[in-house]
Amino acid sequence: MKTTTLAKLAGCTLALLLSSFVTGQEINFAGDWSAIFHEDEPERLPGPPLVEWAGLPLNEAGKMRGLTWDPNRISVVTELQCREHGGDYSMRGLAHMRIERVIDERNQQAIAFKTRMNFHNQERTIWLDGRAHPPADAPHTWAGFSTAHFENGMMVVNTTHQKQSYTRRNGIPASADRAFTEYWYIHENILTVVTVVDDPVFYTEPLVRSQNWVLNPGLRITSNNCEYVLETPIGDDGQLVPHYLPGENPFVTETAEIYHLPIEGLQGGAETMYPEFREQLGQPLGDSRFCTLDCE
């Protein structure tokens, strides 16, 4: 009896100790994070040039949308001036981020993370409480609907219900049917988020990329309200949506000529994501001596 009592006491003590901790895998991402742009800086900051889609798993529909895109559209079409980034692109672009953890006061369990990006005050809730995603035909938002769980020292986030948006700021679209998976992990003061975009409308394979942030307690994310104005007199009669008809884009080969790269590679496709593509082309790499723009 004495042994049984001691065993029960030990078991209760052990259970008490374990219950005072979180699962052991939960990670607190709360804080102010400054985006780091050592990866893909030209694309993420000043922006990509025209018809530069290397490494994007585009299908023919995605390529056609890109070739018919006119960059003036975002100025001329007033409704697009204040359009927010999609939840996926907001993790990609100019993306200083504030993360808050929401705690259920009743049981001290984390039920969500709330993120706020510095661009257009975009906010997103990442639910941790196991709730289901809404039905497929539920309203879509720019940020989408996100849920997450923890595994192997990472937070895995699944996002659906994003509005139609863009993958890259040179005409590459992102459909409202896309699913977005993220893998968040912290090492020292660096947050790394690996993102996987599955778009059945415009991609043939998942698009995998990574982005990094550094913890910055001194960061101050200010309000970033957008205002609709007449940016340019182009099409000021309100009837114009800048575009190119199929076959009429005059800039298809521009980037290829500037950097002396094969046009087949720059027009994207899943094969361009893999190193074997170089062998398929059978052409030498572009010579840096012929570079005429952004050569450093």
């Binding site: 900051l45 922006g47 960059p71 003036n72 661009f119 957008c226 940016e231």
Partner: protein
Amino acid sequence: MKQRMLTAFVLSLGFTMFAVGAGNAHHSFPATYVMDETQTIEGTMVQFLFRNPHSFVHVMVSDEETGENQRWAVEWGGASALAGSVDRSSLKPGDQVRISGQPGRNPEDHRLRMQSLEVIDGDFVWQGDFD
């Protein structure tokens, strides 16, 4: 006056460097403008749109050959990015300005991406970069 110009110039460079990475990446500049060319216009500022995601300066420029006035739109940094070196009172309609910038892809669009601005009959000068 020279001291104010110098101060504005230095401040604009400093705050521009700070603003890079904390500003707005709304659209792609290499997609919209010819980044390896510079064009200079001179005319009368008619509108200053100090806002996010990008400010715009509209300038009426007289065509040297035809004498016709043409409205140009010059894209600038967002209000958040320019804060500290530029505010709503930095420019006013009627200012004679000289602006250099990267031209838009279609010359008929009459648009530039700001690289430098000088108020010819004033003391405001700005030069820098933005995202």
